[in-house]
């Protein structure tokens, strides 16, 4: 195979990636788009084996590919819908790590022959790849709840982070001047550290935005390594992901009503929360499934607000059963979907689609908010932050400014909760203590099943 043929196939793969992103932007073509992307990536990989045949170290390369497949495919197949976001974070992180490793190897290989431009791109790839790697690991740990989901802020934090950034820049300069292995190693370690410090202060609810941003970062590193390796395909693919990832990050931030800047640096300026008040025991009104069923039976309009708890309990089928039952009783039912309910934008849509909930029952936030005034009952299932009035009333709390579903305007509010534990962002919800609120404690699926049977017998 000659170089022209090889380049043409690379170009075709690049076109596949453009079509993939285009396809993924529309519900009807999304799945096909993803498959086109997979096809492009597969072809781009296979053609290497033909063009460079026989590859040196072929056995090792095939072995490493097999290991990657054995780890990656089962992880992706077996993961629960609830854990999808952290898996995406993890995949993004390893991609960033791979890009950094590629740059390091190429740097070692080129040695003193490297041009200044190549060294600069190598430095860029190592820095951003390492940040993406360690940052993604931290987001993974936050989402998996292996560590606190609250913003981690320590005294002088912003000086530490600024000093680390300065050290990263200094080490970058050192690598460009010295061209040694030691400076590169120092640079990699500092960048890993910076990635950790960069993500630690980000609050739980903002984590999806950070994943998207790190995703765009990884894209750019791939583009930069494409320059060093003289591969047009890597430049195209990496730049596409970098650009679309940046736009996507902004779209997500807009959906949550936050500025990107505020998300990333808000934790530095936020005052520590008033935790003292939250410790007090305050009375709440808790009800039985029968109480809930009676309330629903005499309602004319009910809005269901699903959250992460619904996903954890795998209660999507049960909630649909309840909705169908209410509809058969002539009750007007809608689902109020907050764009970032769950752990990722669109999480609830995916979950309810799995239970075949008709699309026209899903109402977006802007649609459903004005209707809460005429709503008799709002059932909040395993959601907390997205209905927390503190986002509108208490400046300084981590979710202040995030648009919420205004369930407090409904005549009655029912919370299905496991416990009084606050939501992912770790903020107390005043609505729980409101006199018109009724709490039904327990696993969402078990509770819903009881409500369904109680409602049937009425």
């Amino acid at each position: 195979m000659n170089r022209t043929m090889y380049d043409l196939i690379g170009l075709a793969a690049g076109v596949c990636f453009i079509l993939a992103l285009k396809g993924l932007s529309h519900p009807k073509t999304a799945r096909r788009g993803n498959l086109i992307g997979a096809l492009g990536a597969t072809v781009a990989t296979l053609v290497l084996f033909v063009y460079n045949a026989p590859l040196n170290n072929l056995g090792w390369i095939l072995g490493a590919l097999a290991v990657g497949l054995i780890i990656g495919v089962p992880a992706a197949r077996k993961v629960q819908m609830t854990q999808m976001p952290q898996l995406v974070a993890l995949f993004n992180g390893v991609g960033g790590g791979a890009a950094a490793l590629v740059a390091i190897v190429e740097y070692l290989n080129l040695g003193a022959e490297a041009t200044t431009a190549e060294v600069i791109f190598t430095v860029f790839t190592v820095v951003v790849g390492c940040i993406s790697f360690s940052g993604s690991i931290i987001t993974f740990m936050k989402l998996q709840e292996l560590m606190t989901t609250r913003p981690v802020v320590f005294p002088g934090g912003r000086f530490v982070i600024a000093a680390t950034l300065a050290a990263v820049l200094g080490a970058s300069g050192w690598v460009v001047v010295e061209l040694g292995t030691t400076p590169l190693l120092v640079l990699a370690v500092l960048s890993l550290l910076f990635g950790i410090l960069f993500v630690l202060p980000v609050g739980g609810a903002d984590v999806p935005i950070v994943i998207s941003l790190l995703n765009a970062f990884t894209g750019l590193t791939v583009a930069a390594s494409g320059y060093v390796l003289d591969s047009t395909l890597l430049i195209i693919a990496g730049t596409l992901v970098g650009a679309s990832g940046t736009i996507l990050t902004r779209l997500m931030a807009d959906a949550m009503g936050r500025s990107l800047f505020g998300t990333l640096f808000g934790a530095f300026t936020a005052k520590p929360q008033d935790v003292a008040a939250a410790g007090e025991e305050r009375p709440v009104r808790s009800g039985s499934p029968d109480d809930v069923a009676i309330l629903l039976n005499y309602a004319r309009r009910v809005v269901i607000v699903p959250g992460f708890g619904l996903a954890v309990a795998q209660a999507q089928h049960t909630v649909r059963e309840l909705a169908d039952l209410m509809i058969s009783k002539g009750i007007d039912v809608a689902y109020g979907i907050h764009p970032v309910a769950g752990r990722m934008p669109g999480h609830m849509n995916v979950l309810l689609a799995e239970a075949n909930v008709p699309y026209d029952q899903l109402a977006e936030m802007d649609e459903v908010n004005p209707t809460f005034g005429q709503t008799d009952v709002a059932i909040v299932i395993g959601a907390n932050d997205v209905v927390n009035p503190a986002a509108q009333t208490s400046p300084g709390c981590p979710i202040y400014g995030m648009p919420i579903l205004e369930v407090s305007n409904a005549a009655n509010v029912i919370f299905l909760k496991r416990s009084m534990r606050p939501g992912f962002a770790g903020i107390e919800n005043e609505l729980l203590y409101d006199p018109k609120t009724m709490l039904l404690f327990g696993d969402a699926k078990a509770s819903l099943t009881k409500v369904v049977s109680a409602l049937k017998s009425l």
Binding site: L21, G37, L55, N109, I236, T239
Partner: protein, 97 residues
């Protein structure tokens, strides 16, 4: 490669990237992010190239690690995106029931 050609490719790809995702409903944000994430797994190509011309054991070891990570990123990414999107279809099945 000619520097100017690279800059041109880069700039044009930026615009294409902006353009293709500028109008997307929030429903698709997650799958789109996941799909884009899988696409940058194509760094696998780079990892194989450096493994091919690795000269020392250190270089080979690092590039093999890169291959493992990149494969996880690419293959896992496409599979998980497909699983997410699988949930979106099947609306017709629901209507039939």
């Amino acid at each position: 490669m000619d520097a100017m050609a690279i800059v041109s490719i880069f700039v044009l790809a930026v615009f294409v990237g902006f353009e293709v995702v500028s109008k997307v409903s929030s429903t698709l944000h997650t799958p789109l992010m996941s799909g884009a994430n899988a696409i940058h797994g194509v760094i696998l190509v780079g990892a194989i190239i450096v493994a091919d011309h690795s000269e020392t054991n250190l270089e080979l070891g690092l590039s093999l690690a890169a291959i493992v990570l990149a494969t996880i990123n690419m293959v896992g990414g496409f599979v998980v995106t497909d699983r997410m999107l699988e949930m979106f279809k099947g609306k017709k099945k629901g209507a039939d029931k």
